[in-house]
Symmetry: C2
Subunit: 398 residues, 2 copies
């Protein structure tokens, strides 16, 4: 596998574009991704009981595991808009269907932005012809920019790998848990590939990669009404069909894992108000599920995150979070390290290492290592520190 330039338009047969349609006062706010041929498609989305209208429509349109386009807007979440919201999402899909001459139910729709504000559907529909005209093989970056909200960094990545002598490409863009003022932290990620892969394999690979990537990243522990990850595979690489469980499948999975983990990490790194990037690596757990629980509890702890902001090697908060996860372990077997400095050994804090640990906390990246001493499973979570800037961003929007 090697990293290549571009993102969602890097795989063969994919095109992308991004324009300003007027939902936001300025900046790109409407993105389109298009495959020249119908693609096998898979998606995962928020488990929130309150789902935005575009999520519900995309879920319905993905029932046949086939799609050809993704349209996404930033600036308005089209959530809590009642029946009108569902209509607006449908009209958006219909306009893309018309402009690209594809089936309406092959259009997937995503939105991110303010909740509970009417979607200016007319602006979107009016802009779709121009958006379709702008589609290009270099448009990935425009689409990536058009889904950004308070993200400071554009998030795109692509890689190529060889499957039975054929070059297969995977490209992806994401937006992070930045909040558009005044609203929600939504995570969107769109992935394209020219791999020829069976539907069941595509779904399984996406589910597995999401577990290890976006489900292990947290900025503030809040799950949005709009979170969506979509993966389209159009088969244009002409490789032999990738079947679930085969060696080629494993190869595809590991490339997908790599891309999605890389985007997930960049979402954490670009968290609102973040001054430091935190990786929590849990080992010695009884199961992967338990390792993930502990890692996410630590990554979600306001106390751990403010300690990192304050460059305080506060092992008590880390140990306490691990213990608060609901996972049972023997506290006398707990080991904790901060950037490699073993500050807790067999459950006891080593205050003599405080100075060395304090020095590590001054770095821009802090790796918290936690060994539970009760098994062989491990997991990694990513987050950022919790700073006064986060509060400023989220408390004051006018």
């Amino acid at each position: 596998m090697k990293i290549i330039k571009g993102s969602v338009a890097a795989p063969k047969g994919f095109f992308a574009s991004g324009i300003h349609c007027g939902i936001k006062k300025k900046g790109l706010d409407l993105a389109l991704i298009f495959s020249g041929v119908p693609a096998v498609a898979a998606g995962v989305w928020t488990t929130n009981s309150v789902k935005a209208a575009p999520v519900l429509l995309t879920e319905a349109n993905l029932k046949d595991s086939c799609a050809q386009a993704i349209i996404a807007n930033s600036g308005n979440a089209n959530c809590m808009n009642g029946k009108a919201g569902v209509e607006w999402a449908k009209q958006t899909a219909a306009s893309v269907s018309g402009a690209l001459c594809i089936d309406t139910d092959d259009v997937l729709v995503a939105s991110t932005g303010i909740i509970g504000k009417p979607l200016p559907a007319a602006k979107i529909i009016g802009a779709v012809p121009q958006l379709a005209k702008s589609l290009s093989r270099n448009g990935g970056i425009m689409a990536a920019k058009a889904i950004m909200t308070t993200d400071l960094v554009v998030k795109e990545v692509a890689a190529s790998l060889s499957i039975a002598g054929k070059t297969v490409r995977i490209g992806a863009i994401a937006k992070g848990s930045g909040m558009i003022y005044p609203n929600m932290a939504t995570m969107l990620c769109f992935i394209t590939t020219d791999a020829y892969i069976e539907s069941a394999a595509l779904k399984a690979s996406l589910k597995a990669a999401t577990e290890k990537s976006f489900n292990m990243v947290t900025v503030d522990g809040d799950m949005s009404t709009n979170d969506t990850v979509l993966l389209l595979a159009n088969g244009m690489a002409m490789n032999p069909l990738i079947r679930k469980g085969s060696p080629d499948y494993m190869k595809f999975c590991s490339a997908l894992d790599f891309l999605m983990i890389s985007l997930a990490k960049s979402v954490a790194r670009d968290g609102e108000g973040a001054s430091k990037f935190i990786e929590v690596n849990v080992t010695g757990a009884k199961s992967t599920d338990e390792a993930r629980k502990v890692a996410m509890e630590i990554a979600n702890s306001n106390l751990v995150k403010t300690a990192v902001a304050g460059e305080d090697p506060n092992v008590g908060r880390i140990a306490s979070s691990a213990g608060a996860s609901g996972v049972k372990f023997d506290a006398s077997k707990l080991n904790i390290s901060l950037n490699g400095v073993r500050v807790v050994c067999s459950g006891s804090a080593r205050s003599e290492l405080r100075a060395a640990a304090k020095k590590q906390m001054k770095k821009k990246e802090v790796l918290i290592g936690v060994d539970l001493g009760s098994g062989k499973a491990s997991a990694t979570a990513w987050t950022c520190d919790l700073t006064e800037r986060y509060i400023k961003i989220n408390a004051r929007y006018n």
Copy 2:
């Protein structure tokens, strides 16, 4: 039931004291509560896998459901100190046992403060004779002060009620999720009563009241290694025995609920950096458990809490948190109100009420009402807003 003066020394036969023994640089840091006669005792404590040494000792000493004294220090959590920590807790109990001529295992021990720092046990043990000498019927306030960390307000309350013509008193003190620099948010609550009550009834009443009070309050969602609630009943009111399930038991429970909820609310009100008090009232749930889950998810949401800090009537964040709780409900039946202004009606945001809602958000107390429209159960949670001061307090301690 009526509110009376004092706290843990208000019930007959109870004495309390608080002194400075030198764990903290200044201020009271050692508290003692004593019953002249052995008392029936019950306790609940942190479910954290990492438990402080005093929690483990108190758990052991409560096996016989009998106790006569509680000693508590602030300034040091005596946690992650290995076997030495357990020894220090035992030595503390032994010194109280010696000074008061009571059984060692009738002494309960609690600590709050820095994790992973050796407990200065000699200072505690050296101060116990003076602490015992200072015991008085007016000492509740001193004990309440001696367990405070970054709490700004002393938390004590007492009430009397009549059981079969006899006056029964209940008194309580608590400390909140203030963090002693540089460490943990610990919640401690000690309750005394002169009621004559059977052990099973005492335990059941404490468990039920804790569920409705301290388990429904959150400042930052972090569970400490030291959280402890203890209840001693010495029977000196000479009332007929209160049996579980009897009308007198219900009367006792409702008084205990009232006292513990009042302390839990004051803990939320006094949360670190808090500028506003938030009550989340969830109705229309399928079960109490589901109502509690939704209420706590909202109360724990950084986004909701920063919105309240910013006086922003952000219903999207509230709806999204409700939906993220894991409780399934029909989003089109969701109603949300802010201090009585019905901002979400049948799942749709009513933007025309935004100005009215905004006005309500300027108040010091914000009541978030959420009706799930799926049943008849309800629950209430309490919290405070999340401000830049919280980050300052927790990121900077030197």
